[in-house]
């Protein structure tokens, strides 16, 4: 039975004790001054329970997005055309798993174990990026993901890397460094199709049409509908507003897409020369909320695959957890 997901959950005492402290006003003031001065908060430092809770939620969701995000592209590793693409795609997906590992480690410094986080992923309690609930139907989808989704993720991650929590920022610096290579490989594969045969171009245009809405959803609901942002921005948990990041992304990438002779499925999409901001049609936020709450085309499939992996790997993890019988050999 899958139900329990991971079996090695440990009680999460540290977080509970912290909740019991209640926030002390003097400590809170000192904490907020440190953040205002641009200091990083480290794992042993005092922090408000709400800061800890929000950070765990943020980093955990980010970690889940990495390992779930590996799935739609991962299914194309076996079909990637030619040695160059095959090797690049395995390396890329492998990096995403590595990012998941880095992020779970960063979240663990706040007192929640990797096992507990994976459990919450499998039970549906904890979310991941909505964009991965859509299917990658053709090879062109892989190039759209590798170019545009990775580009969008970089906008988000570069912003977050300037946040206040030390371990998360350091993980993000390394992640952004690797992501910039992903973007290059995605861009390269995207251009190959855009400048290729008529069938290749058609395949790419079709993928772009299907992915545009999820890409517009990527940065989250519009600022006017976003709750609780103010305190999180003061604490430098959230570093840029959803609309600002979306605008930055459109500004950087829409011209690149148009330059290649491709179109985007939004007749209202344009940069307003007066405000300097991009205008676009409402990308159906009802769909966004429907998908995030489990109603997307691939939510079920993604979690089933993850559950398969947890279930089939359980005996291996169990074998690793027997320290008394552990065989020890130098690694190298």
């Amino acid at each position: 039975m899958y139900g329990g997901g991971y079996i090695f959950e440990e009680p999460n005492n540290r977080q509970v004790r912290e909740e019991m402290l209640h926030d002390e006003p003097e400590k809170l003031a000192a904490f907020e001054e440190r953040i205002a001065r641009g200091e990083k908060i480290e794992p042993g430092d005092w922090m408000p329970a709400e800061y800890r809770r929000q950070l765990i939620r943020l980093i955990e969701q980010h970690a889940h997005s990495e390992i779930i995000g590996a799935l739609p592209e991962g299914t194309w590793i076996t079909r990637a055309p030619g040695f160059k693409r095959k090797l690049a795609l395995i390396a890329k997906v492998q990096d995403e798993i590595g990012h998941g590992q880095l992020l779970y480690n960063a979240a663990e410094t706040l007192g929640k174990t990797r096992e507990a986080m994976i459990n919450d992923l499998l039970s549906g309690k904890s979310k991941y990026s909505n964009v991965f609930n859509y299917p990658a139907k053709t090879w062109a989808d892989v190039t759209v993901i590798g170019f545009l989704i990775d580009a969008a993720a970089i906008v988000n991650q570069v912003a977050n890397s300037k946040g206040s929590y030390g371990p998360y920022c350091r993980a993000l610096e390394r992640i952004c460094y690797e992501e910039s290579f992903h973007l290059k490989q995605g861009h390269d594969a995207f251009i190959e199709l855009a400048t290729g045969t008529p069938a290749q171009k058609e395949m790419l245009q079709d993928a772009l049409n299907r992915w545009w809405k999820p890409i517009m959803h990527f940065f989250g609901p519009p600022d006017k509908a976003s709750l609780h942002s103010e305190k999180l921005m003061q604490w430098k948990v959230k570093m840029a507003s959803n609309d600002d990041m979306r605008n930055q992304f459109l500004d950087m990438y829409v011209p690149k897409i148009w330059e290649l002779g491709l179109t985007l499925p939004d007749p209202l999409l344009r940069k307003n020369p007066e405000t300097g901001r991009w205008e676009y049609s409402d990308p159906d936020w009802d769909e966004f909320f429907r998908v995030i709450n489990g109603g997307g085309p691939c939510n079920e499939e993604r979690l089933q695959v993850r559950k398969w992996a947890e279930e089939h790997g359980r005996w291996v993890r169990k074998a690793l957890m027997k320290p008394a019988e552990k065989h020890s050999l130098p690694v190298a």
Binding site: I97, L329, A332
Partner: protein
Amino acid sequence: MLNKAITDLLTKMADDELILGHRNSEWTGLGPVMEEDIAFSSMAQDKIGHSWALFRILEELPEGRPADLNAFCRPEAAFKCCHLVEYPNSGYDFSLMRHFLFDQAEAVRYESLQESSFEPLQQLSKKVKGELKYHTLHANAWILQLSKAGEESYDRMQTALNEIMALAAGIFEPARDYEQALIDEKVYPGEKELYNRWLDRIYPVLVKASLNLPDLNAIAPAYGGRTGQHTPYLGPLLKEMGEVFNLDTAANW
């Protein structure tokens, strides 16, 4: 004659690494622990990388075809991989035992090629040596760890070994028409010699892990792959691997 023999040797090596690299890459994102997922994926890349290097050597030989065409759109009967690499991943026990037995064989083969009279292979083997050291260290460490971690995991390792041994022995299928020429010309020492060196290499690890080596006289090595007779698993794998590439083999992807 020697050219044909060298082509045969390179092709079977390249096909083995391509198909097993492909199989191992199927674990990317699905491994039992994240760290192992990353390690396995990394080794899959090495295998596919070795295969690419071998196909590029083949490309340079008389009548050589471009590496991508050779690998991604060749008929099944022209593939010369052994049956071991064709089998689906099954569980991690099967995959890990296959990794151990194959990578030890690969290490033995490339070590012998460091003395090869065929220079491109000699050079490649020197380059690959460093990578294989880590692959076999990884395989040995996991075989030992899992064989010593309680009953379930020990049973799984022993069962996997029993199931795979005949397939693994098939790596060393003799190349009847070509082998003697390659031995005479000192290209490589021949399959029988490699098989014996391989046994010397795996035996001490299995003893340390308290695993029983199946009776080698009672198993029938899974031969046929080297002459193009394959398991039912290879066809669908090749179809999937070439799915996008074969939409238009003249296009750049």
